[in-house]
């Protein structure tokens, strides 16, 4: 499987403190729009209520992910930066 095929599947899944599944997506070293593309693919595979945790280094992501969250009806739980890595946590809205 080529590297790009691997972009489509999230790296790891664990459970966060609230019990919701947290899926981690490492997008460090990927330029816009690859992080949102990968996130878009990962989100489509998530259960409603699950959380996607994306790590990016591209400065463009700072504005991309809040806009992406609005566009795809996701809840942006947090947007933090540490040592040049931005971390976004997005929750797929649970079905009403």
């Amino acid at each position: 499987m080529s590297e790009i095929d691997m972009l489509a599947s999230p790296d790891t899944a664990k459970t966060g403190p609230s019990g919701a599944a947290v899926v981690a997506l490492d997008c460090k070293g990927l330029l816009c729009p690859l992080p949102v593309y990968r996130a878009s693919q990962a989100i489509s595979r998530l259960e409603p209520g699950a959380v996607l945790r994306v790590e990016c280094t591209d400065p463009g992501s700072l504005a991309d992910f809040p806009a992406f969250a609005r566009q795809r009806n996701l809840t942006l739980l947090s947007a933090t930066e540490r040592d040049g890595v931005q971390v976004f946590e997005l929750r797929k809205v649970a079905d009403a």
Partner: protein
Amino acid sequence: MEIIDTAAGSAALGAATEELEVRGVTWRRGRIAGIGPDAARRRYGDVRELIASPANATPLVRLNHVVAPAADAYLKLEWLNPFGSVKDRTARYLLEGMRQRGELDGRELVEATSGNTGIALAALAALEGIPLTVTIPSGVPAEKLVLLRMLGATVMATPDDLCPVDNPRDGAIALARAIVESPAHRGRYVMPNQYANPDNVRAHYETTGPEIWEQTEGLVRTFVAGFGTCGTITGVGRFLKERDSSIRIVAVEPQAGHRLPGLKNLQEARPPAILDRSVIDEVIQVPDVPAYAMTTRLFREEGLIVGPSTGAIAHAIAALDGAASGLTVGISPDGGQKYASFYADLVADEAAGS
């Protein structure tokens, strides 16, 4: 004459086996060595040799019913290239140029394409064992996606609004560029870049243009092609203008928001870097409705199974003043079999009586 027809027998003879010429067939002790390619007999070593060139030109076919009686117009049927479109020429030149510059060594290919370039690149890349990823706008017909995957390409379908802040309106190009430039990929991906690569123009300057000149015996007066990557209009336009600057080069442009794969409206999409507007004498805008109407007429009145961009180009030809245009050649970039899903609406509307 002794012919040993088993592999064991041949091996027993050792490496130095004798070749025998028998009625034009070369036999090697043990098996036929191969009669080799022969273009005059239309016998080819592999499918790449079928990509059009002046030695093997795509046909010009006269339009007899969809243009005025005074017109003398031909379509150049580029879908008779081996992978189905005019882009076979482009892909061959793009890859050959990259190979000569050493850009292919140990790399993988990635390209943004509406389909035909991807198909041609995928076929050539498959023949040469080079991995290819194609980024495509999500609106292309399923037939093209299936073809690409059958040819072994990795396909990433992108919506145009992929980069929500920038909204460059071509998510496929942005994604392809990001794949090439992302530091995490360490330079492993290389993009032929049909919109900016001069080899695209060179393909048409060296093959399509000379073919048209030769096939019309130098009598062509008007050439019509679409704005897409603009390789054809630029390469052929440049070649023909050099032969005779009074030849009229006419570009066909779709309207904004069109559904004519392969064509580009240059107000809503960025004009390709390779476009040379100085060779273009006139731009005719063709909306979807007349393009599809003419496509239907080409099927039914000329027996031409074409893609909708051909309908747009033929509509423009029909709109020209036939007497003033003289001998006119238009490009038919691709065939109609890949567009069943696009044409389904047309025939459904007819059946419904609308």
